[in-house]
Amino acid sequence: MSAASAVTARIKNIDREKIVLGVAAPLLAIVTAVVITSLVMLATGQNPFQAFSVMIDFGTKSDSQVWIINKAIPYYLSAVAVAIGFRMNLFNIGVDGQYRVAAFFAAAVGGALALPGIVQIPVIILTAMLVGALWAGIAGYLKATRGVSEVITTIMLNFIGGSLIGYFLKEGRLAEREGNLIHTKDIPDSSYFFEIPTSVQPIYGTIVIAVAVGIGYWFLLSRTRFGYDLRAVGASESAAEASGVSVKRTVITTMLLSGAVAGLVGMPTLLNISGNYGNDFPTGIGFTGIAIALLGRNSAIGMAFAALLWGFLERTGNQLEFEGYAQEIVGVMQGVIVLSVVVAYELVRRWGIKRQQRFVGEQLAAQAQARKDAEVTA
């Protein structure tokens, strides 16, 4: 009896161990990053403790909090788009191109139509998802049929996407001029997404999209057959194929899904801020997404924290500049975090495997011993 309860206790231990391992890596990464950036600051003759206290003070102010949350929405969406690929070992570097192309055409469609908001907003969002999926699907199709590495194609498609937007973003084509800015026709006021008012600035309503995508991502991967197939391919392509998963089809589907989520990345900007796609539309969120997906271990919750951390760093980076620090120190910090993450995860993973092997060995030896004892008494 006591042996059995000991076993259940140990099994609970495995769950706890999972959590410990899950938290250990990002924690290790961030601590390493803090130490390294401190050293960098010391080397440039600045006081790191002062800087960190400025960051914490300023970053926790209520208007900062709202700013950080709003910033984190597209980051999170981008990270999920990247993570869908990561989970099956597809490196979708093209989220950047996918969301820009998607946002551009969604903005063009939104500017051209004047339907009631309740219809038009879904139309804009669906257009974005469709275009994003299509753009990523090209890479998926080439990978599945011709074996072309998705890393190459998605990078190329980023450039092609940029040029495509450049072509259409001209007066007389799909855009109009407003001072120095060229942008697509503004979407009607009724097509703006709602906002959640706070005591300071409002939080963008598109946060519900991010939350829904996060839940959908978690549910799809851990609760559905398709998600299992996807993870199986990611864990071992050869085993997945032998088990009956069509790897090619999964590659295409995954790229389509990743692209569809990537298509959403531009929505917070389009539907809550700008109302159009202009040459001032934010770029580079796709690459930020890669870093955040890495930092968040591809987990729905982890990536949310990672996106908020990224927002925090950017917010406080601006402030550091006012305080006379080089703003680049935040860039250094972000870069160091990503590097530390890659190293820390590998270290923690190996450590975890070793621990578990040792644990299984001990457990089996104990069982064998118990059996022997039982034989002796019998």
Binding site: S243, Q357, E362
Partner: protein, 499 residues
């Protein structure tokens, strides 16, 4: 604790065999001796000097070399390049290195040809290259991990000849194997490991294979023999005219399978013998639908499944024990219960419609662990942390849990301890009595002869010979596997009438 109270003494200039079940602690012991893992307690002494290894490099520096079970060679480099790789400092990479390779090869009769590409040479030659690699690095003690698993009997004899040359020159060999007959014929001393500790040290002259096996398992030893025939006349799996072409290393297309045909009836075990790489893997892949055959049909229980995808075939009742369980049978980093779903994710109890039913799958995994005696502390540990035998028991249990009509078993007991082996044999026999058809592909000739109701020999993509397991001997089978005998192999000698 993987190991405790291990005591072995290896005399210089001898072949010392280490036998024991998988999971008994042999591999851990080897890892410690080769510096891949550190012992918590205890000492290692070489030539009277106490040593401690932090890395394999330390072990190599002390003259200990390891020949792994899975070869660690780069196929697209030549033999000489493979030998030199990573040891460039010793004799450079030019004439000096070549001379040294030649010298070692001649000294121990290895007969290695340094200019061939590794992908061009056979398994036995690759193994000699591995041995040469270790000697080149100055090893005086060689550890060989199950070196005969991939060899046919004739090649095994040649290997043993090489080992004797090595020991004659004063080198020491530690030989790990499950095959007791081999151990008895080559070893000077034998140490038996069971449950992480050394249970006996014996001399080969003083024991029989049966006694040795009983020392290993600590109980009665298993035999693969199937006695009464359960073959019915209902065909379950029929393969006919199967042809599959592939591109070989020279870019030439040639048939890897040609005109392969056979029928397996309910209750029948059909064994396929053959040296690895003669098309067995491709045959399995064609039957599983992983590769599409160019010609020919596969019929399961009367239905033509030639065009069905793998998943459909599995749902229709083909169970599959892959040859390489790490690459094709398991998700090593995933917990056991997720591995229980692999290959059957569309079926109950794993899913209902598009949704996974984790609770049912977990409960069923508990059942498999119990019924198939998978030794594990729980179903949440990763598949990687189980020993080979327990991984295989899990796979076997999983496949048998979906009531297969036919079981494709490729090397089902390779790298599996004696206990698990006898259990898997028992279960195959039991399932066969219930009417299961089995395609058994194995390199273990005793297993093939003992379990099969009929035998075929595969050579260069063709089924060149057949034999009756009741009368055939491993030696005769080995001859046919090298292509030297074809047609029906009569019980007595290598046969006439090639077909």
């Amino acid at each position: 604790m993987a190991n405790h109270d291990i005591d072995i003494t290896v005399r210089k200039g001898t072949v010392h065999a280490l036998v024991g079940e998988n999971g008994a602690g042999k591999s851990t012991l080897m890892k410690i001796l080769y510096g891949m893992q550190k012992p918590d307690e205890g000492t290692i002494t070489i030539d009277g000097e106490q040593v401690s290894f932090a890395t394999p490099a330390d072990a190599i520096a002390r003259g200990i070399g390891m020949v792994h079970q899975h070869f660690m060679l780069a196929d697209n480099l030549t033999v000489a390049e493979n030998v030199v790789l990573g040891a460039e400092k010793l004799h450079g990479i030019g004439a000096g290195a070549r001379a040294r390779i030649k010298e070692i090869s001649d000294a121990y009769g290895l007969g290695v040809r340094p200019d061939l590409l590794v992908e061009e040479i056979g398994v036995a030659d690759r193994q000699r290259v591995e041995i040469l690699k270790v000697l080149y690095r100055g090893a005086r003690t060689l550890i060989l991990d199950e070196p005969t698993a991939v060899l046919v009997p004739q090649e095994v004899d040649a290997l043993f000849g090489n080992l004797r040359e090595l020991t004659a020159e004063g080198l020491t060999v530690i030989f790990i194997s499950h095959k007791l007959g081999e151990v008895l014929s080559v070893a000077d001393d034998i140490t038996v490991i069971r449950r992480g500790t050394t249970v006996a040290s014996v001399e080969p002259a003083g024991v029989t294979p049966k006694q040795l096996a009983e020392l290993m398992v600590g109980s009665e030893l298993p035999t693969p023999e199937t006695r009464e025939s359960t073959v019915t006349d209902r065909p379950v799996l029929t393969v006919s005219g199967l042809r599959l072409s592939g591109t070989d290393s020279d870019g030439v297309r040639r048939d890897v399978l040609a005109d392969v045909g056979f029928t397996i009836h309910a209750g029948e075990v059909l064994g396929i013998a053959g040296v690895e790489g003669n098309g067995q893997a491709e045959l399995v892949e064609a039957i599983m639908g992983i590769r599409t055959a160019d010609e020919g049909t596969v019929t399961l229980d009367g239905a033509d499944i030639t065009r069905h995808p793998t998943r459909r075939r599995r749902e229709d009742g083909i169970g599959y024990i892959p040859e390489d369980r790490h690459r094709h049978g398991l998700l090593l980093e995933a917990p056991l219960w997720e591995n229980r779903m692999l290959g059957h994710v569309t079926q109950r109890p794993n899913s209902k419609g598009p949704w996974l039913t984790a609770r049912d799958a977990r409960a069923d995994t508990e059942r498999i662990v119990r019924e198939y005696d998978v030794r594990t502390p729980g179903i949440d540990v990763t598949a990687r942390s189980l020993s080979g035998g327990n991984q295989q028991k899990l796979i076997f249990g999983r496949e048998m849990s979906h009531a297969p009509k036919v079981l494709i078993a490729a090397h089902p007991t390779r790298g599996v301890d004696v206990g698990a082996q006898s259990q898997i044999w028992d279960q195959i026999r039991a399932a066969r009595r219930e009417g299961l058809a089995v395609l058994l592909i194995s390199a273990d000739l005793d297993e093939l002869i003992g379990l099969s109701d009929s035998l075929r020999v595969m050579y260069r993509g063709r089924l060149v010979a057949d034999a009756d397991p009741a009368t055939i001997t491993p030696e005769e089978l080995g001859t046919a596997m090298t292509g030297a005998a074809t047609g029906h192999l009569a019980g007595d000698a290598a046969t006439e009438n090639p077909s």
